[in-house]
Amino acid sequence: MKNGKRLKTRKISELLELYPFLTNFFEDNLINIEGKYDLTISELLSTIDEDELEDKALDIEKLMINISDYIDQMIEFLGEDENNGVSKLTILPGRDKSGKDEIFEPIEINKSEIISIVGPTGSGKSRLLADIEWTAQEDTPTLRKILINDELPDKKWRFSSSNKLVAQLSQNMNFVMDLTVREFLELHAKSRMVEEEKSVIDKIINEANKLAGEKFDPDTPVTSLSGGQSRALMIADTAILSSSPIVLIDEIENAGIDRKKALRLLVGEEKIVLMATHDPLLALMGDKRIVINNGGIIKLIITTDEEKNILSGLEKMDSIVQKMRKKLRYGELLSSEDLMKENKNA
């Protein structure tokens, strides 16, 4: 409780000036501060009578502790630079499902790197991602150890709600809120206390529209966006507004979104990107790939030059498929002549 003294002596009006986020705090905790700006917090709380305390289920003692905790957390949170200073993640070997030691040199992942994770279903991809998220210290079933910036990770990565190490993007995610794109982003920006709210929101909408096959308007309800537009918005929002320095991606469907640009946007915002995928178009975009089997990491492959060439070949094939998709959409017939022509162009 670093703010104990200030909290006792300052008036509400002064506190709100120092800590503007307290306005929301009072509101969400059902405390009316209107017309009470000249009181101190304990005076404010003592104006609430017995009945109101009982009705709103307020506990003064707990509230005092909560206000102080909340201020401490917010100050710490606001004081941190964008990616919380995570520039390197290291995975140290543990053991696989049969208890056999994993044999690999420590895997070092730097910010702005893309790492693919491949392996059969049930091989332990989720557990690896969970080990990272929990910053495992030989205390998970795999006995792996995670280092952040070559050091033992701070406990905050496990327990703080505003400092999550990992943001997740997965296939079956939806927007469920009944808001327009702009309102939705405003809400997210407010919860993150960003200063230049409007310019951040404009940037996200702009980037999302660069990723989406079909552009959308900021006044569209998020629930009306197409699958591709939703994914584009989720990725742009995560890249720009999420506090988490690491992004986990569980496949990105190849429809209505430019996946290459999406990954570039994420690493451009200095994120570490981990991507579970079996799609060669996506997997080969990674700098390295981790191969998992039977719960253990069995290999770390660095994407070869030959593979990078293959990737550009695959991208050409993909662009042909995308063009045909478009033609189908607009009621055209596909012809073998077209295919030959496209092949030649590619």
Binding site: N29, A57, A130, D139, N172, M177, S191, T238
Partner: protein
Amino acid sequence: MNLVTFSGPPSSGKTSVILKTIKALKDRGLKVGVVKFDALATDDDILYEKAGVPVRKGLSGALCPDHYFVSNIEEVVEWGKGEGLDLLITESAGLCNRCSPYIKEIKAICVLDNLSGINTPKKIGPMLKMADIAIITKGDIVSQAEREVFASRVNMVNPGAVVMHVNGLNGQGAFELSTLLYEKEEKIDSLKGMKLRFSMPAALCSYCLGETRIGESYQMGNVRKIDMKGKDQK
């Protein structure tokens, strides 16, 4: 024996989270049992049985489930001791937002789900505000932004709580939760003399006692009237 109380709105995923967490606890060789509290009916006891977890259920019927819970918790602890459990989990549905089932010194966990809407945290009283751990479920089907906003709202009403995301379907996060539930040194023998963290919702009016007729002349005891005037007419 350790005791942990789980609570949360209906369908938030309490049972799924508990089942996945028990799996991780069992892997550590711990014996875990569950007592499930509900109002009219529950089949969750069958799910626990299927998973080989010793289970009892208590249905509050016409009584306030919170009051029923606290009037029975001592017997529940006795049962757990008799079964030789290392960890006893009580699960109770928070059927009204004013529910307040937690006991001082006993670990309290509230389960909420991302789909319930971002205004839910402020609407829930002591069940969330007095919890030690807040579990947020169904994160796999909403966006990262919605998860972050929801978690920040939870943090605002209970900054002291550990906020964790657990997926009741695939168990993501359940192992991590399991590491926070059992302390070897902790031993609960009896709850006699312990206190609730907050008073339970109160009522004692003619309707509590079985009155069914509507009308002012039938209303006695702790009765309160809604303010129909609205803001502008005050």
